[in-house]
Amino acid sequence: MIKIENVSKSYIKGKKSIDNLNLEIKDGEIFGFLGPNGAGKTTTIKMITGILNTDEGDIFIDGKSIIKQPLEAKREFGFVPDSPDMFLKLKGIEYLNFLADIYEISNEKRKERIESLTKKFEIYDNLNNEMQSYSHGMRQKIIICGALLNNPRNWILDEPMTGLDPKSSHDLKEMMKEHSRNGNTVFFSTHVLEVAEKLCDRVGIINKGKLVFVGTYEEMKEKFKENKSLEELFLEITENEQ
């Protein structure tokens, strides 16, 4: 479970990039975080993961405060950042072993996890190559494998479908569904509204740092009394807020 309480953040004095954000993503839920470019999605994700400090408020991962108990909170999630260009001089296997050591994963467990994840994403045969030689999609896949290696209860994914081929994208969506079915949490940002519409239990729409809608697609249609697609409703909500 991820709980965001009264969180605000300013980069420039007097201008809030995130304004009093309150949000709770429950266990067993896939939550899609939507918003136009520069709305505050990545800033929110960076605050959830402890990369950015909040100016006000607190964030809890499975009840552990990212501010007061950062190390405990960080053990509770797996994170996929928006850019997969990380540690490119390392081989795929070196990167995964590095993460496995950080999360103190045993030899047997890491063998099982690395094999199952990398075979699922079809990068097992490339594990002995430097990540520099990987395509954008392959880098995205290895970063996802790394984030899921310690089987965290909470997945936090920033634009995870970017660069994935159709099969990998499909597999990841299936994994997200399975993870939530097991009572875990998936929080991800996306620009692909079709994905959010089909995959998410609930969506949150952020615009200019303010959460302008939280709920299911059905609730959104209900609220606006219109039988439109998510894309049309999204544009309507974000344009009305301009």
């Binding site: 300013s10 980069y11 420039i12 004095k13 960076k46 993961t49 402890g50 990369i51 950015l52 400090n53 950062p70 190390l71 405990e72 960080k74 053990r75 994170f79 950042p81 850019s83 260009d85 990380m86 540690f87 490119l88 001089k89 390392l90 296997i93 070196e94 072993n97 590095f98 496995a100 050591d101 950080i102 999360y103 103190e104 994963i105 045993s106 030899n107 890491r110 063998k111 690395i114 045969d125 490339n126 594990l127 002995n128 190559n129 430097e130 520099q132 030689s133």
Partner: protein, 555 residues
Amino acid sequence: MNNKVISLTRVIFKNSFQNMETAKSKTENKNKRKIGMIVLYSLIFIYLAVIIGVFSNGLIKELIEINQEQMFLGLILITIAGFVLIQSIFSAINILYYSKDNEYILPLPIKPSEIVAAKTNVLLITEYFIITIIGLIPLAIYGILTSANIFYYISMLIVLIVFPIIPVLLSSLLILIIMSFAKFTKNRNRFQLIATILVFIVVFALSFTTSNTKTTPEELVKMVTEANGLVEILKGTFPTLGMALNGLTNQSVINQILNLSLLVITTLIVYVIYIVIGQKLYLKGAVGNLYSGKRTSKKIDETKMYKKSSLSKTYIGKEFKTLLKNPIFFMQCVLPAILFPILIIGLAFAGIKGEQNGAPIDFANMITDKSSIYIGMGILCAIQFFLMFIYISATAISRDGQTAMFMKYIPVPLMKQIDYKVIPNIIMTTFMSILTIIMVEYLLKLPIMYLVLITIAGIIMGVFQSYISIIVDLKRPKLEWNSEYAVVKQNMNLIWPVILGILNITLIVILTLVCRSFINSYIFIMFITVMYLLLIFIVRNYIKNNVNKFFEKIY
């Protein structure tokens, strides 16, 4: 030079330097910060200028006393040639072949010669920054102390602008030739590393053989007794050095103009040859995916594949892999630790050993004498001097670039990660200190106990330098870069290890002068060791107490 070259030069240059100050400054008042940076760098410049100025002033006055002041001009020009030559070996390969802008430039309708010209311009402009400090200031002081006329100053500017061009072109030319064979190699990273070391050895060997010109004792006596005769020794050491020196010192103005014209024409001819060769060779090395590492379907050894390691081992291992697998980082951060002690001490003592017919100079009996404190001071200053060029700590955060935020979302305390990032620097400085001591022992015969103590002092100084250097990077990390070259070369942060190094050397010298009359060399070394241990404790605590604040700007 056509508009395309000028425009390309401007773009490449601005792109390299655009993020000179810090990662992101959304939260800060940019104008205030900009003014602060200008003031800071001006102060640094003044500080270095004063040190070089004081040194030059002393040396010129000494040389005037013995009627050999022109020797100073020769020494400065040879320093510029050597410095530019060696610097541009490292820089040329990176700017010409390994900068990410190649991905955008190569598809544009620009001739290879124009790309080579623009990139060489950038290389040269970067060198001019340093030449301002090591060339302009000493030569201007020379002018003042010798009451030179206005023509000297005009010649000085021409020489400072034109003279460094050939060393840059020579290094770049060697790189162009060697890199044209790059297509025959599978592992370009390794090739780049070998190519650079090869060029380095060739240049070093050439300069060593040319500087080893034999002078008979009779000739030497004549040179010393004749006013400004000694400078003749230097004229043959670099092709255009004679022209530049005559352009600055010749008694008749006509002769000076003639020599300067010769310098300009020679440089122009070399430039044209360089551009013609660049047109032919550049694309052979540049085309192809320079960034792709080796990609094979090599199966992995499953027995070794899933081996659990301790966090410290895996983290430090990751740091070393990044340093060793990246030729630019390896050459700039690791290689100096190995090369500098061997080259500099080796060269400095080669002459002395020659005088002693190859036998080590016996200092064993002198070491207990109070005046022997200077031997300790000399060795510690030498170690401190080499420490200034090991940039592993000073670039520890910047090397990660945008990946640096990884440190913030993994469940490992930040201070622990800083310790892990500092350890490779400590390992290399320890290696360097031991190597320096071995070199010194080979050349001077010192007692074992003394060697042990001084080795410990050197290692402790290395630990101190490692921690203090990472503060520089933590305070102003350079996280947005488009080539590794920007981290180690176009990074103003790296002036700080030099400044701190000079301060440390000054401190050691002052302490020696204060302590020389009442303690011997052994106690002095132990005192220095304890002092640096204390400083390490203070600096590490400072980092620990401010670690979260330091990381606020990394996101």
